[in-house]
Symmetry: D2
Subunit: 379 residues, 4 copies
């Protein structure tokens, strides 16, 4: 899926841009379909997917109607240009020291330029219905944030596993060394802490009446994403803390077969008598690849901004959180009578079906504030 437009001058709305191609928009409609033009800027996986799901990147107003477009486009459709750097390190081979992770699993984020791309009606899901633009964006964003939690918990698993392997290779046992066990537990706390938000978002997911699909609970989805966004930098720090400084002093792969140094390095850079040098260097390079390389930094940055920046996540948390129900609770404890509530900014957001006699919510029941009903399309 691709949502983020190039955006151009951020103080202007889509239809006000001097160069309107900074947003994808409809330039022609005919009986067979629509024709779109414009630029999507941060598209993860662009060069290696089958089809793009083009979506609006923000809510639109009536004069932005041409920009309210959602459709599916094959990557090789005429008029599509993808600009991206290679994913991972495809040319490198393990025998030349290519990192064992990135040579297989690297990712790439590209810019996709649409120049008069034709899309037939059966691949068009939104074409001018600007009132739905915000909803489509936020529903998508919630799913994206929810799935991002699982993805980055998997990244945490890799750092946890590689971290203890490095401790072992260094001849140190976190069970016995508090200064290694503490950061290992911190790494686990962070990883499982945001993963738990993903679990809660699933537990309180609500099924859509029509599509029957489930919408993850948005507050937990956004909190989980916010926690991983900012803490992925801490995860790198903790992995480095337990690994030690060898990672940056690591001889390059070209030394592995250098007759002048290979034998000596294998002797003197061994720490744990049970772990041979080549195994130690392998784990060290694995951690370097995950957390101290272009690819490693890519994971941080895409975790921070992909699917919404911290600012966007915080806005969504505030927008969806039933603050009004907490206000009611406190007012009840203060034995205030029911206040006239019209125009009270702080009691607008209330949780449905809570603060009743029973009080508890149940899985499947709507947990936070329901999404605003979509306003009827103006005619």
């Amino acid at each position: 899926m691709l949502t983020t437009d190039a955006k151009g001058d951020r103080s202007k709305r889509p239809n006000q841009q001097l160069n309107q191609d900074v947003y994808v928009h409809i330039v022609e409609r005919n009986e067979k379909g629509i024709v779109i033009t414009g630029t999507k800027a941060i598209v993860t996986g662009a060069p290696y997917v089958h089809e793009f799901l083009v979506m609006p990147s923000r809510n639109m107003r009536e004069d932005d109607a041409d920009f309210a477009v959602c459709c599916a486009v094959p990557v090789d459709a005429p008029g599509v240009t993808i600009v991206a750097r290679p994913a991972g390190r495809p040319g490198e081979k393990p025998e030349h020291g290519a990192p064992l992770f990135s040579r297989k699993y690297g990712q790439s984020t590209g810019v996709v330029i649409f120049d008069k791309v034709f899309v037939p009606w059966d691949r068009v899901f939104l074409a001018g219905e600007w009132e739905f633009s915000g909803d489509v964006t936020y529903n998508y964003a919630t799913h994206h944030r929810h799935s991002c939690i699982g993805a980055r918990a998997g990244f945490g698993d890799l750092l946890i596993g590689a971290g203890v392997l490095m401790c072992e290779a260094n001849g140190l046992d976190p069970n016995k060394k508090a200064n290694l066990r503490d950061p290992m537990v911190e790494l686990i706390k962070i990883t499982e802490g945001f993963y738990a938000c993903g679990v809660a978002a699933s537990v309180y997911a609500v099924q859509d009446l029509y599509s029957k699909t489930f919408m993850p609970e948005p507050v937990y989805s956004n909190i989980g994403k916010l926690l991983l966004s900012t803490q992925i930098y801490d995860m790198h720090r903790l992995a480095h803390e337990v690994s030690g400084g060898l990672i940056v002093a690591l001889p390059g792969a070209d030394e592995d077969h250098n007759p002048a140094t290979a034998a000596t390095l294998a002797e003197v850079l061994r720490a744990n008598p049970d772990v041979p040098y080549d195994k130690r260097i392998e784990v060290s390079r694995f951690i370097e690849d995950l957390s101290a390389s272009y690819q490693g930094s890519w994971y941080s940055l895409i975790s921070l901004h992909g699917g919404g920046s911290p600012t966007a996540l915080k806005q969504e948390i505030w927008r969806n959180y039933p603050v009004g129900s907490k206000v009611e609770l406190v007012e009840r404890l203060m034995e205030r009578g029911v206040l006239a509530e019209d125009n009270r900014a702080i009691t607008k957001n209330k949780q449905p079906g809570r603060c009743c006699d029973a009080g508890c919510s149940q899985p499947g029941q709507q947990f936070m504030v329901p999404l605003q009903e979509i306003k009827k399309k103006s005619v």
Copy 2:
């Protein structure tokens, strides 16, 4: 329930203490029951419960067998002395400005001294079976930590509700002021972040074959408790940040009816034209009561140490986390053959039923490392 013994000299085991009454222990056994003596040190709710569930506070060795005792004792059993400060502020009345929360809901933590207290056999659950002592302790601790998560999330609800009420009384709308909305969202993030760990601990709870009760998943229970333990201080900070400094300059309740000042204060300490002075001062005192008082600090301290200090929580997380499964995952990615694993410290803890072809775990399935089987009692 009461577990924490007075402990005495912490470098010595129970049976090595000069004064053995620093731990509760069995001093007599007869056909009707047992007689216990000793001191439990941090007993929340001691003065206002019906019955004490006395439990061991640590794992025991064979020579500590007399200290491996678990039983139920009515609070008014002969030989029981409770030493505690009053809960909340029972004597104060709202018309005298007594805080609306603590005068009703205050808590108290006491010391309970047992001096030859008789317990009939039908109230005795453990009496000398030292091998089970650690298990009883840790099962109890896991439940305690799990329930603590819900309790403190409720405390978070109060701070969230009171925080926005204070903003309103100050005439400021967090919706429009980023410097208030940001700490409010942070408060929500912390509260719902650790609550989510409680949800995950419930989802992955495992049913006991015999008692049919559910054991919350221990890793998530401990992470949730660890997050609330340390972040409750941040919660106070954030509530104070949004509330402003009035809380500490707040005139005392005796001014409310002081003819020399009451009218003027009501005039000049009003901020939002829609919120009268008495409502503003009421919210301010509510927050003071929750977070800037003896009772407020009690919540912090009991959150930090109650049910296990941060050190104890971290040990449990490490003890239960399937680090070995993460090691396996990384070794598979590094294409290592299966290593001989005897004596590898880092692969002892593995997750049952994971790293299979399907890979995923399901609610109800054991998620983390299973508890160690209890060793047969030595005879």
Copy 3:
């Protein structure tokens, strides 16, 4: 000194308030002096100082001229009313268990109401010169923040000393226990970390040409205050972490002389064989007094908001920091030619005398951005 006005409706300027007494202002001028009326809201030490230094709490505009007033007023001047709670715990005595710190050193923050208070001209420093209002406020604020750093470092000293005394009384040595040494070092790191900002603010202080007094460097003053503001809550947490849970289970002072419990408590609540019970309980109450009491919370709140909220501190840091010099540095590294800089928001703030050939600044030399020159008074 007292600056913070009651403020009233925060969306309105001083002269727009319905009740103008929410700010202190001049109501009469005559040949002998001025007469002031209004309310200052958060005045630390109000009941036990000799004289108030009344100052404006914000920058003023021309129509706020009557509110631009700075003068000295004896606490017992006719028309002054102080509303405050007692400082510390004056009535309590040590033999009744009164905390050894607060019964001597408690503080109090009050509201001060001025009702037609006459101030002779020789005690008036500003009376209507609204253009200087912002400057007076910010100069004062910088000094306040700088001195606050030293005050709170002293509070840190108390927590550090009391923390290790509690460890000793518990029979535990931080030298040997990493789980106690780590939070102790963290406490030291925080305390000395913000104290260092105070040192730097002194080193780079600039002498005023006319008064010959020194103005602490504002960026470091504000950073130090910001660090202590938010981290004082962490300091409480760390002191509690090393102290253990006894603090909240602590028998009250009335038990000290209770014949039914005193002897037993003295026996069973002893931990370190070298530290008698009364010494242990004394340290425990000292920490409770500092960090788990009304007075303890007062220190947190006044640290957070006294002398400027975090938001105010951040604004001052941004306003004074030579961001423009850092931009120049990066542009030089990027080998950009000199750009036309008119209207560039990011290069307005530059450091005088830096980015020269020598580059380094010296103590006494202006370090950050110089304060804006005061605009000539409009006539």
Copy 4:
């Protein structure tokens, strides 16, 4: 300077290693000089310095005397082998998009192997005097940590300057956008916060009686280094937060001259109408180079472990901090008589010349605990 030995099996002392070449040691002494063999593992700048200052990496015992060696060795001395990866990106050129920072200023950390390297006596500073080994190490470490503070503050300057340049290129002004200004202020707070510790370490430096050089105050040196070690990851996060996600979607340098895309990219990836595409992409690549590349990660890792891991820093802080003086202060406040202090672990470290009547310390005066006097060499 190079201190860190390869270390080998970390559970063994130098002379117990199976392969003694994991530490540099003396293998021969004659009238002209000494001959050394062994491996130094993490040597920053190894390939591009004139001379190595070989130092011991730990305190030694009598049986490690051969390992207590400090001497100067030219990089091209016979028997020296340096294994290192290239510094920066020497082969890349700016017109091919090589990063404008790293192509000039990259660093490299290498392994240096000594194989029977002869060192004449006039270049030997320590040769077997094992009692001085710890002192030499810790004196060096304190200087290293102190200088590291300045180095990384310069790195902070680059991130600050580049961060606001990126905001400008994105068409956003941190002055007006709190969600950009807040992380910018946080970045400044971190950078200047640890720099202030460097200032304090200089202010309280003590001059050596014999060499006349100044020794930076060790507590502040270690705190400053600890703050930068762990917060450099936050600095990356904050720089990424203000920069936005473009950095990872950035087209590679090969697109700059690609006729199929260059013109379009220049059009659609422009944001601020006043900043041309090539300037925007240049800043973006600059930030990528500093913080999202192999070289950027190198700065993090070397900040974390270079000159001592966080564990080593914490030990030094504890070892040098006058905890005993804080204990004295609290005991005075508790009105305790002077306690017999022999064997009290917590009062060993006291500050000289403090807690006197005057109390204050002055620049140049010894501030923290004096270094232990060196024990006489055993004969």
